[in-house]
Protein backbone atom coordinates (compact mmCIF):
# COMPACT_ATOMS: atom_id res chain seq x y z
CA UNK A 1 0.00 0.00 0.00
CA UNK A 2 1.37 3.43 -0.98
CA UNK A 3 1.79 5.57 2.12
CA UNK A 4 2.78 8.84 0.47
CA UNK A 5 6.38 8.67 1.61
CA UNK A 6 7.20 11.66 3.77
CA UNK A 7 4.38 13.75 2.35
CA UNK A 8 2.15 14.79 5.22
CA UNK A 9 -0.66 17.25 5.65
CA UNK A 10 -1.32 19.72 8.46
CA UNK A 11 -4.55 21.67 8.60
CA UNK A 12 -3.79 25.19 9.84
CA UNK A 13 -7.25 26.55 9.40
CA UNK A 14 -10.48 25.33 7.93
CA UNK A 15 -13.91 26.67 7.15
CA UNK A 16 -16.31 24.07 8.46
CA UNK A 17 -20.04 24.22 8.25
CA UNK A 18 -22.28 22.05 10.40
CA UNK A 19 -25.90 21.36 9.59
CA UNK A 20 -28.64 18.99 10.59
CA UNK A 21 -31.89 18.49 12.44
CA UNK A 22 -32.44 18.93 16.14
CA UNK A 23 -33.84 15.47 16.79
CA UNK A 24 -34.98 15.47 20.38
CA UNK A 25 -36.34 12.33 22.02
CA UNK A 26 -40.06 11.70 21.49
CA UNK A 27 -42.15 13.68 23.92
CA UNK A 28 -39.32 16.16 24.51
CA UNK A 29 -39.50 18.09 21.26
CA UNK A 30 -38.63 21.79 21.33
CA UNK A 31 -41.74 23.95 21.47
CA UNK A 32 -40.75 26.31 18.67
CA UNK A 33 -43.85 28.45 19.13
CA UNK A 34 -42.33 29.71 22.40
CA UNK A 35 -39.24 30.89 20.52
CA UNK A 36 -41.40 32.61 17.90
CA UNK A 37 -43.48 34.39 20.57
CA UNK A 38 -40.34 35.41 22.44
CA UNK A 39 -38.92 36.81 19.20
CA UNK A 40 -42.02 38.92 18.69
CA UNK A 41 -42.06 40.15 22.30
CA UNK A 42 -38.35 40.83 22.25
CA UNK A 43 -38.53 42.82 19.04
CA UNK A 44 -41.09 45.17 20.63
CA UNK A 45 -39.22 45.50 23.93
CA UNK A 46 -36.04 46.17 22.03
CA UNK A 47 -37.61 49.19 20.37
CA UNK A 48 -38.01 50.77 23.80
CA UNK A 49 -34.84 49.48 25.40
CA UNK A 50 -32.16 48.06 23.09
CA UNK A 51 -30.26 46.62 26.07
CA UNK A 52 -32.99 44.05 26.83
CA UNK A 53 -31.68 40.56 26.18
CA UNK A 54 -33.53 37.72 24.50
CA UNK A 55 -35.64 35.98 27.17
CA UNK A 56 -34.50 32.68 28.59
CA UNK A 57 -37.00 29.87 28.11
CA UNK A 58 -37.18 26.12 28.44
CA UNK A 59 -37.36 25.84 24.64
CA UNK A 60 -34.28 27.95 24.13
CA UNK A 61 -32.38 26.01 26.78
CA UNK A 62 -33.34 22.69 25.19
CA UNK A 63 -32.09 23.88 21.81
CA UNK A 64 -28.85 25.26 23.18
CA UNK A 65 -28.13 22.22 25.35
CA UNK A 66 -28.93 19.77 22.56
CA UNK A 67 -26.65 21.56 20.17
CA UNK A 68 -23.72 21.97 22.56
CA UNK A 69 -23.93 18.39 23.82
CA UNK A 70 -24.12 16.81 20.40
CA UNK A 71 -21.49 18.90 18.66
CA UNK A 72 -19.07 18.15 21.46
CA UNK A 73 -19.52 14.41 21.10
CA UNK A 74 -19.76 14.31 17.33
CA UNK A 75 -17.20 16.95 16.33
CA UNK A 76 -15.24 17.56 19.55
CA UNK A 77 -16.14 21.24 19.62
CA UNK A 78 -16.60 22.76 23.04
CA UNK A 79 -18.78 25.81 22.64
CA UNK A 80 -19.52 28.62 25.06
CA UNK A 81 -22.50 30.87 24.58
CA UNK A 82 -21.86 34.40 23.48
CA UNK A 83 -25.18 35.93 22.50
CA UNK A 84 -28.60 35.02 21.18
CA UNK A 85 -31.52 36.70 19.49
CA UNK A 86 -34.46 35.90 17.28
CA UNK A 87 -35.40 37.50 13.99
CA UNK A 88 -38.56 37.54 11.95
CA UNK A 89 -38.46 38.03 8.23
CA UNK A 90 -41.35 39.35 6.18
CA UNK A 91 -42.51 37.54 3.03
CA UNK A 92 -40.09 38.28 0.22
CA UNK A 93 -37.60 39.92 2.57
CA UNK A 94 -33.90 39.74 1.82
CA UNK A 95 -31.69 40.77 4.72
CA UNK A 96 -28.75 43.06 4.44
CA UNK A 97 -25.42 41.17 4.49
CA UNK A 98 -24.82 40.02 8.06
CA UNK A 99 -21.50 39.59 9.79
CA UNK A 100 -21.26 38.64 13.47
CA UNK A 101 -17.68 39.69 14.07
CA UNK A 102 -16.63 43.19 14.93
CA UNK A 103 -13.55 43.72 12.79
CA UNK A 104 -12.15 46.26 15.22
CA UNK A 105 -12.86 44.06 18.24
CA UNK A 106 -12.04 40.52 17.21
CA UNK A 107 -11.16 39.62 20.78
CA UNK A 108 -14.76 39.98 21.87
CA UNK A 109 -16.29 38.58 18.70
CA UNK A 110 -17.76 35.08 18.55
CA UNK A 111 -16.21 32.13 16.75
CA UNK A 112 -19.36 30.55 15.33
CA UNK A 113 -22.85 31.54 14.29
CA UNK A 114 -25.74 29.11 14.63
CA UNK A 115 -28.96 29.66 12.71
CA UNK A 116 -31.97 27.61 13.77
CA UNK A 117 -35.21 27.39 11.83
CA UNK A 118 -37.97 28.23 14.31
CA UNK A 119 -40.59 28.63 11.64
CA UNK A 120 -38.93 28.87 8.29
CA UNK A 121 -40.76 28.25 5.05
CA UNK A 122 -38.65 28.53 1.91
CA UNK A 123 -35.94 30.30 3.86
CA UNK A 124 -32.56 30.32 2.19
CA UNK A 125 -29.19 31.27 3.58
CA UNK A 126 -26.33 32.43 1.38
CA UNK A 127 -22.94 32.14 3.06
CA UNK A 128 -19.92 33.97 1.68
CA UNK A 129 -16.45 32.53 2.21
CA UNK A 130 -12.95 32.77 0.86
CA UNK A 131 -11.18 29.72 -0.51
CA UNK A 132 -7.53 30.70 -0.29
CA UNK A 133 -6.96 33.15 -3.15
CA UNK A 134 -10.42 32.50 -4.54
CA UNK A 135 -12.33 35.22 -2.74
CA UNK A 136 -16.03 35.76 -2.39
CA UNK A 137 -17.33 32.26 -2.96
CA UNK A 138 -20.89 31.55 -1.88
CA UNK A 139 -22.86 28.59 -0.65
CA UNK A 140 -26.66 28.56 -0.79
CA UNK A 141 -28.54 26.46 1.71
CA UNK A 142 -32.14 25.98 2.74
CA UNK A 143 -33.03 26.43 6.40
CA UNK A 144 -36.15 24.44 7.28
CA UNK A 145 -38.14 24.08 10.48
CA UNK A 146 -36.14 22.56 13.31
CA UNK A 147 -32.92 22.53 11.26
CA UNK A 148 -29.69 24.29 12.11
CA UNK A 149 -26.70 25.61 10.22
CA UNK A 150 -23.52 26.63 12.02
CA UNK A 151 -20.54 28.30 10.36
CA UNK A 152 -17.56 30.49 11.31
CA UNK A 153 -18.45 34.01 12.33
CA UNK A 154 -15.93 35.40 9.83
CA UNK A 155 -18.33 34.39 7.04
CA UNK A 156 -20.76 37.02 5.89
CA UNK A 157 -24.25 35.74 5.16
CA UNK A 158 -27.74 36.81 4.38
CA UNK A 159 -31.18 35.27 4.58
CA UNK A 160 -34.07 35.35 2.16
CA UNK A 161 -37.71 34.60 2.88
CA UNK A 162 -38.64 33.35 -0.57
CA UNK A 163 -42.37 32.83 -0.12
CA UNK A 164 -45.03 35.52 -0.15
CA UNK A 165 -47.44 34.50 2.61
CA UNK A 166 -46.00 34.17 6.09
CA UNK A 167 -43.27 35.40 8.39
CA UNK A 168 -40.11 33.36 8.88
CA UNK A 169 -38.64 33.09 12.36
CA UNK A 170 -34.97 32.27 12.80
CA UNK A 171 -33.08 31.97 16.08
CA UNK A 172 -29.43 32.98 16.08
CA UNK A 173 -26.97 31.85 18.73
CA UNK A 174 -23.33 32.85 18.67
CA UNK A 175 -20.61 30.79 20.33
CA UNK A 176 -17.01 30.94 21.34
CA UNK A 177 -14.91 27.88 20.78
CA UNK A 178 -12.59 26.76 23.57
Amino acid sequence: MYNGGAMQKKVLSEISLYQGDVSMPKGFEIDRSILAIDTLKHSFKNLIDPSVGFPFSKSWDMLNTYFRDHIKVKHHLTLVNKDTWGNLYKPGEVTTPLLQIDKVDLRNSPDYVLLYGVSSQECSVRIHYNDNRRKGRTLDMKLKDNQFIMFPSTCMYYLTNKQQDILNFVQTITYDFI
Binding site: M1, P25, V73
Partner: protein, 152 residues
Protein backbone atom coordinates in the same frame (compact mmCIF):
# COMPACT_ATOMS: atom_id res chain seq x y z
CA UNK B 1 -23.60 12.70 45.73
CA UNK B 2 -24.66 10.59 42.82
CA UNK B 3 -23.46 10.81 39.24
CA UNK B 4 -25.65 10.34 36.21
CA UNK B 5 -24.75 10.08 32.54
CA UNK B 6 -27.02 11.72 30.02
CA UNK B 7 -27.14 9.49 26.96
CA UNK B 8 -28.47 9.95 23.45
CA UNK B 9 -31.06 7.63 21.97
CA UNK B 10 -28.20 5.72 20.34
CA UNK B 11 -26.55 5.25 23.74
CA UNK B 12 -23.68 7.73 23.47
CA UNK B 13 -22.85 9.64 26.64
CA UNK B 14 -23.50 13.36 26.13
CA UNK B 15 -22.88 14.71 29.63
CA UNK B 16 -22.21 13.55 33.15
CA UNK B 17 -23.87 15.42 35.99
CA UNK B 18 -23.81 15.32 39.76
CA UNK B 19 -27.04 15.09 41.72
CA UNK B 20 -27.31 15.81 45.42
CA UNK B 21 -28.14 12.84 47.63
CA UNK B 22 -31.39 14.48 48.66
CA UNK B 23 -32.60 14.23 45.07
CA UNK B 24 -31.79 10.56 44.62
CA UNK B 25 -33.25 8.98 47.75
CA UNK B 26 -36.70 7.45 48.04
CA UNK B 27 -39.13 7.89 50.91
CA UNK B 28 -37.24 5.28 52.96
CA UNK B 29 -34.01 7.23 52.50
CA UNK B 30 -32.39 4.68 50.17
CA UNK B 31 -30.49 5.89 47.10
CA UNK B 32 -32.61 4.91 44.11
CA UNK B 33 -31.69 5.41 40.48
CA UNK B 34 -35.26 6.01 39.36
CA UNK B 35 -35.66 8.89 41.82
CA UNK B 36 -32.58 10.60 40.39
CA UNK B 37 -33.81 9.92 36.85
CA UNK B 38 -37.17 11.50 37.59
CA UNK B 39 -35.46 14.52 39.13
CA UNK B 40 -33.23 14.96 36.10
CA UNK B 41 -36.11 14.54 33.66
CA UNK B 42 -37.97 17.31 35.43
CA UNK B 43 -35.05 19.72 35.71
CA UNK B 44 -32.99 18.98 32.62
CA UNK B 45 -35.69 18.34 30.01
CA UNK B 46 -34.35 14.96 28.94
CA UNK B 47 -36.19 11.63 29.33
CA UNK B 48 -35.67 9.71 32.55
CA UNK B 49 -34.68 6.52 30.72
CA UNK B 50 -31.79 8.39 29.09
CA UNK B 51 -30.17 9.21 32.44
CA UNK B 52 -28.04 6.32 33.67
CA UNK B 53 -26.38 6.30 37.06
CA UNK B 54 -22.62 5.85 37.03
CA UNK B 55 -19.98 5.32 39.68
CA UNK B 56 -17.27 7.93 40.10
CA UNK B 57 -14.93 5.39 41.66
CA UNK B 58 -15.33 2.55 39.18
CA UNK B 59 -12.68 2.00 36.54
CA UNK B 60 -11.96 -1.16 34.57
CA UNK B 61 -14.69 -2.89 36.52
CA UNK B 62 -12.91 -2.28 39.83
CA UNK B 63 -13.87 0.05 42.61
CA UNK B 64 -10.92 2.28 43.49
CA UNK B 65 -11.93 2.48 47.15
CA UNK B 66 -12.49 -1.24 47.54
CA UNK B 67 -16.25 -1.13 47.19
CA UNK B 68 -18.42 -2.85 44.62
CA UNK B 69 -17.74 -1.92 41.01
CA UNK B 70 -20.74 -0.46 39.24
CA UNK B 71 -21.30 -0.52 35.49
CA UNK B 72 -17.74 -1.10 34.39
CA UNK B 73 -16.34 2.41 34.13
CA UNK B 74 -17.17 5.91 35.28
CA UNK B 75 -18.96 7.36 32.27
CA UNK B 76 -17.36 10.10 30.25
CA UNK B 77 -18.48 12.17 27.30
CA UNK B 78 -18.34 10.04 24.16
CA UNK B 79 -18.53 6.72 26.02
CA UNK B 80 -21.15 4.21 24.91
CA UNK B 81 -23.75 2.73 27.22
CA UNK B 82 -24.16 -1.01 26.78
CA UNK B 83 -27.46 -1.86 28.43
CA UNK B 84 -27.09 -5.61 27.80
CA UNK B 85 -23.89 -5.85 29.83
CA UNK B 86 -24.56 -2.78 31.99
CA UNK B 87 -21.19 -1.25 31.11
CA UNK B 88 -20.04 2.19 29.98
CA UNK B 89 -17.47 1.62 27.24
CA UNK B 90 -14.75 3.92 26.04
CA UNK B 91 -14.69 4.38 22.27
CA UNK B 92 -13.32 1.35 20.46
CA UNK B 93 -9.63 2.23 19.92
CA UNK B 94 -9.18 0.08 16.80
CA UNK B 95 -11.63 -1.79 14.61
CA UNK B 96 -10.10 -5.16 15.47
CA UNK B 97 -10.21 -4.72 19.25
CA UNK B 98 -12.75 -6.70 21.20
CA UNK B 99 -14.67 -6.11 24.40
CA UNK B 100 -13.52 -7.76 27.58
CA UNK B 101 -16.65 -7.86 29.69
CA UNK B 102 -14.89 -8.86 32.90
CA UNK B 103 -12.50 -5.86 32.84
CA UNK B 104 -14.81 -3.47 30.94
CA UNK B 105 -11.87 -2.67 28.65
CA UNK B 106 -11.04 -3.14 24.99
CA UNK B 107 -8.40 -5.76 24.22
CA UNK B 108 -6.33 -6.26 21.11
CA UNK B 109 -7.03 -9.54 19.29
CA UNK B 110 -3.56 -10.81 20.26
CA UNK B 111 -3.71 -9.69 23.87
CA UNK B 112 -1.80 -7.06 25.78
CA UNK B 113 1.44 -5.50 24.60
CA UNK B 114 4.61 -7.42 25.61
CA UNK B 115 6.40 -6.20 28.71
CA UNK B 116 9.42 -3.95 28.20
CA UNK B 117 12.82 -5.45 28.92
CA UNK B 118 14.86 -4.32 31.91
CA UNK B 119 17.20 -2.42 29.57
CA UNK B 120 14.32 -0.60 27.90
CA UNK B 121 12.87 0.32 31.28
CA UNK B 122 16.27 1.56 32.37
CA UNK B 123 16.55 3.76 29.27
CA UNK B 124 13.05 5.08 29.87
CA UNK B 125 13.95 5.93 33.45
CA UNK B 126 17.13 7.71 32.43
CA UNK B 127 15.14 9.50 29.71
CA UNK B 128 17.59 8.60 26.96
CA UNK B 129 14.75 6.81 25.19
CA UNK B 130 11.06 6.38 25.65
CA UNK B 131 10.15 2.86 24.59
CA UNK B 132 6.51 2.00 24.25
CA UNK B 133 4.52 -0.58 22.32
CA UNK B 134 2.13 0.92 19.81
CA UNK B 135 -0.66 -1.06 18.19
CA UNK B 136 -0.23 -1.53 14.44
CA UNK B 137 -3.74 -2.09 13.11
CA UNK B 138 -2.84 -3.03 9.49
CA UNK B 139 -0.26 -5.58 10.67
CA UNK B 140 -2.26 -6.62 13.74
CA UNK B 141 0.85 -6.44 15.88
CA UNK B 142 2.44 -4.54 18.74
CA UNK B 143 5.35 -2.42 17.42
CA UNK B 144 8.09 -1.31 19.75
CA UNK B 145 8.59 2.43 19.24
CA UNK B 146 10.96 4.96 20.71
CA UNK B 147 8.70 7.97 21.06
CA UNK B 148 11.68 10.18 21.95
CA UNK B 149 12.51 10.06 18.24
CA UNK B 150 9.39 12.06 17.50
CA UNK B 151 10.21 14.83 19.96
CA UNK B 152 11.53 18.00 18.29
Amino acid sequence: MAHFAKISEDNVVLQVVVVADANTVNEEGAETESVGQAYLEQHCNWPANLWIQTSYNTESNEHKLGGTAFRGNYAGIGFTWDSDNEIFWLSQPYASWVKNISTAQWNSPIGDAPALTAEQNSQNNSKTNYWIYVWNEPEQSWDLTDSNEHVN
